[in-house]
């Protein structure tokens, strides 16, 4: 008779969370090598300390959940969601250690803010004096945003988790649901393959461009790598304070635009294109939605800013308006103007356009944030469907469809679930705006910053600084986190933890009553 007990939920979650943490911690070896290469000894020590702490923590979690390995217990949806959500929270602490030790952030909270901003590919930052930052830490910042874009759980699944039983549940928990291959490990591998091919091409293009605009070969390479990682992940970090303005180059900005637009597309679309299905880019509901909204937003912003005389010539319009609108729409967050220029020069109309595109965001199952073009397209088609139903005869039973990699029937449940997620984003954005106004920031400024963190964009109007209220920092961290994981995982984790606490309380109460 088999008397071996099954692993409980805590052990299962602990086991897989440990794997994810161990995997991401080991990645710190790369910035450590960069630090050694550039003979930056203090940053090298920072990374050694962080690797040690993270490795001990990861191994301890794996060992705590060893019962899972022994008994092959069931892996349920709640476990998958909780592993994804919990890994992000724990990694936010662990990955912030090199930041804090470097002295570029005034507090641990600020360090965690920057890490969450990197993971969620947001790009707002509280780190100070980027211009004197070590190469090692710069490598780490940009790696975080690159890994976060593809998904940390996705990475761990590719390299560490052998069994694929619960893999799909963790994969979905990280806000990704596209199935490129029959198994999730294959899909995760495919996502990384796509990203790595683009990494080589994109870094190469930016490197050549960097050399042409006068950068030295070695720094041109590192700048190219960092800007690619940020663009592809729609992150928005850059190695220098001036962000993309540091390069003073229309060609550099143009290459970045191409990369971040491609990066904001669904991995399913990339895969379809790779498979030779070139028409997908035109037929897909997400790309249709993106091109319509981005074109409209660019035209409106150009018209508005030309009317107010802020930018009068075409080149300025392209580099300062189109660039920023596309950067906001793809949720990248590269800024080709100073943060305060939005507030001081763009006016309410310009700010409103930016808020709208930041909230819409890029494609589902991509590196981008926001509502996602798929949901906007589905809800829009849903509205049209309802209007048509009202106008047509009750006998007329027409089936409405939309195309996203393949044809789907537009069912009420699909429209409803899309609308619910959009509603969640709007609530998150509204609370953020309200909080900003509570602390005395103007409404339009608060809305801009709230939209930027909710949509994981990273553009700032000047609110995000180390001196901002602590509560706002915490809320922005939460907004970036919820926005990136698309609510469900976090809700599942909160529900699971809440349920656990309730059970524990009931148990304690019962035992105390019986005594």
């Amino acid at each position: 008779m088999n008397t071996e007990r099954k692993a409980n939920s805590i052990e299962i979650i602990s086991h897989y969370t440990g794997y994810v943490i161990l995997c991401i911690s080991l990645l710190m070896v790369l910035p450590l090598l960069v630090s050694i290469l550039f003979q930056e000894w203090n940053p090298a020590l920072d990374f050694l300390i962080s690797i040690s702490i993270s490795a001990i923590f990861g191994l301890a979690l794996i060992m705590l959940g060893w019962q899972r390995k022994i008994s092959k217990s069931d892996f349920q949806w709640k476990h998958g969601f909780t592993v994804a959500a919990l890994s992000w929270v724990l990694l936010m602490f662990l990955c912030a250690i090199p930041y804090r030790l470097s002295g570029h952030t005034p507090s641990m909270l600020d360090s965690m803010f920057d890490v969450m901003s990197g993971f969620t590919t947001t790009g707002v930052l509280l780190s100070q004096d980027l211009d004197h930052m070590s190469n090692g830490l710069n490598m780490w910042r940009h790696m975080l945003t690159f890994i976060g874009g593809q998904g940390m759980v996705v990475l761990a699944l590719t390299f560490l988790v052998k069994e694929t039983g619960g893999a799909y549940k963790m994969y979905v928990g990280e806000g990704k649901d596209i199935e490129l291959m029959p198994n999730v490990k294959g899909t995760a591998g495919q996502i990384w393959k796509i990203s790595m091919v683009y990494l080589i091409i994109g870094t190469g293009a930016l490197w050549i461009n960097g050399l042409l605009i006068g950068l030295q070969p070695i720094s041109a390479f590192f700048h190219a790598l960092y800007i690619f990682e940020s663009s592809w992940s729609t992150g928005g970090f850059a190695p220098m304070t001036q962000n993309i303005m540091y390069y003073h180059s229309v060609s550099y900005e143009s290459v970045a635009i191409v990369i971040f637009i491609i990066g904001s597309f669904n991995f399913g679309l990339h895969y379809a294109m790779w498979q030779g299905n070139k028409k997908e880019i035109v037929r897909n509901i997400e790309t249709q939605s993106f091109f319509i909204t981005s074109f409209t937003a660019c035209m409106l912003a150009l018209a508005g800013l030309a009317k107010s005389g802020i930018y009068t010539d075409a080149m300025a319009g392209f580099r300062r308006v189109v660039f920023n609108v596309l950067s906001a729409h793809t949720t990248t967050g590269f800024g080709s103007i100073y943060a305060r220029q939005y507030a001081l020069e763009w006016g309410d109309f310009g700010i409103m356009i930016m808020v709208i595109v930041m909230l819409i965001g890029g494609s589902a199952c991509s590196t981008a944030g926001g509502f996602k073009g798929l949901r906007v397209g589905v809800v829009f088609k849903g509205i049209i469907m309802e209007v048509k139903k009202l106008l047509s005869s009750e006998r007329n039973m027409k089936v409405y469809k939309f195309h996203h990699i393949k044809d789907y029937v537009l069912e009420d449940s699909v429209v409803k679930s899309s609308a619910i997620i959009i509603l969640c984003y709007i609530v998150l954005f509204s609370v953020g705006t309200l909080l900003g106004t509570y602390y005395g920031y103007p409404l339009s400024h608060s809305a801009f910053e709230a939209a930027s963190v909710t949509g994981n964009v990273g553009l700032s109007i000047g609110i995000t600084t180390p001196s901002m209220p602590v509560l706002m920092k915490i809320y922005y961290i939460l907004a970036m986190y919820l926005g990136r994981l698309e609510f469900l995982s976090v809700f599942a984790m909160i529900g699971y933890l809440g349920g656990g606490i309730k059970k524990a309380c009931q148990k304690t109460l019962k035992s105390s009553l019986s005594h």
Binding site: I70, L215, Y246
Partner: protein, 182 residues
């Protein structure tokens, strides 16, 4: 008397006008240029800032980025001038401190609407220097202790892993044996 009054009024008018230019002649913070970009647009300003990153030579000039902690900005200057800067700030070095006088453009027509400064004159106020990043002994000791602990932990982990594998093999062997017997 009337001459004196005239002189007085002329002096007053000049005094009223001059402060604006005097203010511009004294060092302005880069962040102030951005905050009051409309007012400073097209004006000659002087800033004191550190050269950072590296210079970027172009066909008809050179870009040099500078920071004064409050913010950073690009300076467009003749390539010849940029050669006077010997050190650009980075992790290991503090860049040359420059006093730059130039024309501020809120949205430069020549450079695609960028906010920049077109150099008129530049003075190297202080040469850059190597920043002494001494290895922190506290960090070093913590690192050694933590690395030792991690190593021990890894050994314990490997040991436990082997033990579990052995247990699993035994269990599977037993199960297979039972199946064969039955």
């Amino acid at each position: 008397m009337s001459k004196n009054i005239k002189i007085f009024f002329v002096t007053l008018i000049i005094a009223g006008l001059v402060p604006l230019h005097v203010a511009f002649a004294t060092s302005t913070k880069i962040n102030d240029l951005i905050e009051k970009a409309m007012a400073f647009d097209g004006q000659t300003v002087t800033i004191t800032a550190e050269a950072i990153g590296e210079k970027m030579d172009r066909k008809d000039g050179t870009w040099v980025n500078v920071t004064d902690v409050s913010n950073a900005i690009g300076i467009w200057m003749p390539t010849q001038e940029s050669r006077r800067i010997s050190i650009f700030g980075n992790y290991k070095e503090k860049g040359d401190i420059l006093e730059i006088t130039g024309v501020f453009n809120r949205a430069c027509k020549e450079h695609g609407g960028e906010s920049d400064l077109h150099l008129i004159s530049m003075r190297v106020m202080k040469s850059g220097e190597i920043v002494q990043n001494k290895i922190s002994m506290t960090k070093l000791i913590i690192t050694i202790v933590l690395l030792g602990t991690t190593l021990l932990f890894i050994l314990f982990f490997i040991n436990q892993s082997k033990y579990l594998k052995m247990k699993e093999t035994k269990k599977n062997g037993k199960a297979n044996g039972q199946r064969t017997l039955s």
